[in-house]
């Protein structure tokens, strides 16, 4: 880690230069702004979908329109659903060769270092630009072993039965207003199937990019990890800086069959004009393990609580959540674990950093159903405040309907103390270095869970956020 930290020093680029650029809006099709049955049918028609999916979308739209805006969390009243493009197609086909990606789109991903990352540390990668995937590729040896890694649209085309069997079974379209919205207008995302016993050693990565102003991106991901298999899925995302708001609302469903393990890591780095409202849930069967590693650095407002439903004995769920709330940002993050069977275990670790008036909240649920005896859960939330303008809140909910369980909850809020800074400065570190070192130390337990490249990226992003924070 320290090597990474060293590389970060003296780094003086900023979000605007590194990620905030845009390329001309050059699309092959864009649906008009706003949302109604016609738009939904048009999206389905453009994609050439089977009837059941079109019906599913329309049913979801009704549910979305009926549901009131949630008011239990952050203020969502700034979202104008009529002022959003729900579907933008940037290129007519997704490809498996970077050279075939249209030049302007390729330029974007080149700048973001995506093709290079694939060469260095990934088993496969996908890239979504606006509404659809423009690139998806997996190593051939994995294909030969039966691993499927496609865009969700291609997954539906090529594996309709598998998709129909699982799509919407982990997260109902009616789960919440935004799952309903996603179910109505979903586009892109990943479809992954790992056959029994196959261990995908290197991560599969998807990168999401919004380019158009007032864009809504609604990717949909479905991951099925069959018995005894393993996969690590990584996702990253960025967008240009615009004065008007964009909306990103994804749904991610994961099924982990007995003895299998899935790790899902996110580095969310949307620009500060993006509402990020995501529903993520996994079902873990007997002795299966689900691990969410969720880093929220960017966006204007994020509401995201990755969930694990521990359905059979021996299942284990973990959420590692890190949130960084800077000026004008609200990070409302956390995790949910439902113990639905005996002898299930879980752990939620949440770390948040607030500065420059940013607000970070931990919102979590631990639920132990009747009959889930001998369940164990531990929740640890630590918040770090960098100044008096910022705030941190904790909303832990624990519901236990069983006697013989072990539940732990610890929460702490600390300020980067004057004493810590003074101590480090007395050793010759500048105030900025001292602050960065304390923050790096604070998130270190989480960062070491990430692949090295992502750990470096995360540290670099925080460094960018920290810039000019002193003096």
């Amino acid at each position: 880690m320290s090597d990474g930290t060293k590389q970060l020093e003296g780094l003086k680029d900023s979000y605007a230069e590194k990620y905030g650029f845009n390329v001309p809006e050059n699309y092959t099709f864009r649906a008009r702004k706003g949302l109604d049955r016609d738009i939904v049918q048009e999206i389905s028609w453009m994609k050439g979908e089977p009837d059941w999916m079109r019906e599913f979308r329309l049913k979801s739209l009704e549910s979305f329109l009926k549901k009131p805006m949630p008011t239990w969390g952050a203020d969502l009243s700034g979202i104008d659903f009529d002022d959003i493009y729900y579907f933008v197609r940037a290129t007519d086909k997704g490809v498996a060769n970077w050279d075939e990606v249209p030049a302007e789109i390729k330029e974007t991903f080149d700048k973001l270092g995506i093709p290079e990352a694939e060469r260095h540390f990934l088993a496969g990668s996908g890239a979504q630009f606006e509404s659809e995937s423009v690139y998806h590729k997996i190593r051939e040896d994995l294909t030969r072993q039966g691993v499927i890694f496609l865009s969700m649209d291609d997954g539906l085309k090529e594996h309709p039965d598998l998709v129909k069997q699982y799509f919407g079974t982990v997260i109902s379209y009616a789960d919440n207003k935004f799952s309903a919205l996603n179910s109505a207008v979903w586009s892109g995302g990943s479809f992954i199937y790992v056959p029994p016993g196959v261990h995908v050693e290197l991560p599969l990565q998807a990168y999401f990019r919004i380019n158009t102003q007032n864009m809504g991106q609604f990717e949909r991901t479905l991951i099925i990890v069959d018995e005894g298999a393993f996969v690590h899925y990584l996702e990253g995302c960025t967008a240009p800086i615009y004065s008007s708001d964009s909306l990103h609302s994804a749904v991610v469903e994961i099924i982990i069959r007995p003895g299998a393990r899935c790790r899902y890591s996110t580095i969310q780095n949307w620009s500060n004009n993006v509402y990020n409202l995501v529903t993520k849930r996994a079902i873990a069967y007997r002795d299966a393990t689900m691990e969410w590693v969720d880093g929220n650095i960017g966006s204007k407002l994020t509401m995201k609580y990755p969930a694990v439903y521990l359905k059979e004995p021996g299942a284990h769920g973990e959420v590692l959540s890190i949130a960084f709330a800077g000026k004008g940002q609200i990070q409302d993050a956390g995790g949910k674990i439902i113990h639905g069977a005996p002898h299930t275990t879980s752990k939620i670790t949440s770390k948040s950093i607030s500065m420059h008036g940013g607000q970070a909240s931990y919102r979590g649920l631990i639920k132990v159903r009747k009959g889930a005896h001998h369940s164990k859960s531990n929740v640890v939330c630590d918040a770090l405040l960098l100044d008096d303008l910022s705030r941190s809140d904790t909303y832990p909910v624990i519901e236990i309907d069983e006697q013989d369980v072990t539940i732990g909850h610890e929460a702490s809020v600390s300020k980067v103390g004057e004493d810590q800074l003074f101590y480090l400065m007395s050793r010759g570190l500048s105030a900025e270095q001292a602050n960065a070192l304390v923050i790096n130390g604070f998130i270190e337990p989480l960062v070491r869970e990430l692949p090295m490249e992502y750990a470096l990226e995360l540290n670099r992003l925080i460094q960018i956020q920290m810039e000019g924070s002193i003096g």
Binding site: S2, G417, D419, R427, G428, S430, G441, F442
Partner: protein
């Protein structure tokens, strides 16, 4: 030329309350000074003020280091000039190893001297740190532990001395380094300081008790009472204090005030 830390007529307030009321003290490279005094006399205030803690407000007087006005400088700049403070209560920094912190500290010095410096190469840094740890008879595992987190009292103080060894200051202030140490730990820490002492290091040992001075032999002893230095002398003065306590000084000073 030997570096000199000069304190002239120093007045310091904390939260508006005057604590130091005109302190004069000079410590040169190669000298060992002891500053003694009862609790609350202002010894630690002097230590923090020398290093530049923002809560300590200098209301009058001067501190210079090699003729440079320290009061104009932040703590990190003072450190890079060659001033070091071994803390009475070292602060824990979770997730940051002792080695990582020290590497930042070492590199910040190099960078201050040469803006183009790329930092000490890692193998060279490791070698240096191991040497210093061997010199202080410390287990190498120490470097990989999170700074002061879960350290025992003795380990914290040894970690302070290790940092001092690695940063090679010209003047080091040891604030109550003996507090909280059992006799073995005190001996080990003192031996460390003695090993580092020499013509290039000036030491100001701040202590409540005489016992650390059985190991670290001062050439000058100063006694602080109510924010002022009221008595100065050689090593004998410390022994005298050990025998008679501070009361004779208190009585004499209150007599002076009354007169």
């Amino acid at each position: 030329m030997a570096a000199v830390l000069e304190i002239r007529n120093l007045h310091v307030s904390v939260d508006g309350n005057p604590i130091l009321k005109g302190v004069d003290l000079t410590v040169g490279q190669g000298e060992t000074h002891a500053l003694m005094g009862p609790n609350g006399s202002g010894k630690s205030t002097l230590a923090y003020t020398l290093m530049g803690h923002p809560s300590y407000e200098v209301t009058d007087g001067q501190i210079t280091f090699d003729g440079i006005d320290l009061l104009e400088l932040e703590a990190d700049e003072r450190s890079r000039l060659g001033l070091f403070l071994a803390f009475q209560y070292p602060v824990a920094i979770s997730g940051v190893t002792l080695a990582n912190c020290l590497r930042h500290a070492v590199n910040s010095r190099r960078k201050a001297n040469n803006p183009d410096d790329r930092g000490m190469p890692i193998p060279e840094f490791r070698r240096m740190l191991k040497e210093k740890m061997d010199f202080l008879q410390m287990n190498h595992d120490f470097a990989g532990r999170y700074l002061n987190e879960g350290f025992s009292g003795g380990e914290k103080k040894r970690a302070e001395i290790l940092q001092m060894a690695a940063l090679e200051p010209k003047i080091a202030v040891l604030d109550e380094t003996d507090s909280g140490l059992d006799i073995d730990a005190l001996r080990i820490v003192s031996e460390g300081v003695n090993k580092l002492s020499g013509p290039t290091l000036g030491v100001l040992v701040i202590t409540h008790y005489q016992r650390i001075l059985n190991y670290i032999k001062p050439s000058h002893v100063h006694i602080m009472l109510n924010g002022q230095i009221v008595e100065e002398g050689g090593p004998d003065l410390a022994l005298h204090l050990e025998e008679h306590g501070y009361d004779w000084l208190r009585e004499r000073e209150s007599g002076v005030v009354a007169a």
